[in-house]
């Protein structure tokens, strides 16, 4: 049986000190409230609660 799925490296979740969560590798991001379902190569997610563009980081944690 042929399998054409793209082989991506294993997902790495990197929690930045006083900063966002960076995710790379093989993952599927979903957010039912924002109607998001995507598999980007890299994503930065807010973990300070202040972003104006949740779930993504918008650098509000620096303010």
């Amino acid at each position: 049986m042929e399998d054409n799925r793209e082989i991506k490296p294993q997902a790495i979740i990197e929690v930045q000190d006083n900063g966002p969560i960076r995710i790379t590798g093989n993952f599927l991001l979903s957010d039912s409230k924002k109607d998001i379902m995507e598999s980007p190569a890299e994503v930065w997610l807010c973990r300070c609660g202040k972003s104006g563009n949740k779930p993504y980081c918008d650098e509000s944690h620096k303010k």
Binding site: I12, F27, D31, L45
Partner: protein, 169 residues
Amino acid sequence: MENERTFKRGRKYTNGEITVFWKPDTCIHASHCYRELIDVFDPGKRPWVDMYGAGTDEIIETVNMCPTDALTWKWNDEEKNADIDPAQTNHVNFRRPELLSSTTEVYEEPVSVKVMPDGPLVLNGTFTVLYGTNKKEVRESIISLCRCGASNHMPFCDGMHRKVGFIDN
């Protein structure tokens, strides 16, 4: 009190027909339970589980949504437990495949990164987490990470989003 007796570090609750088991140590605050069925699972009340808040079918359906074995259930009539449908994954006798140690997999499924509405980030799959000043590295299968900024157990969720009233904008 018959309805709420301590078992190990958990509790159990019954409506006479089924028993729901609660293991706080394995809860990752994914919040499916109270989002689906606040009349039964209300973290703001003590006891937080009211087995008479909804019908048995609804309670089973909601317990089955729990991504860990923090909430499990069984029929009080032991005979009914014998022919349980394996799809009812949070039955107390059933071990969820993703909670067993992973064996050989040719292709790894993408890690599920789920943004819980007004709650944490719930990650499920095989992945590596790096955190802390010395970049502590752990291989995990299911965790929830704080998104509200108020956790006392950073970077993990400890349920504080409810107390601070965190709302996704």
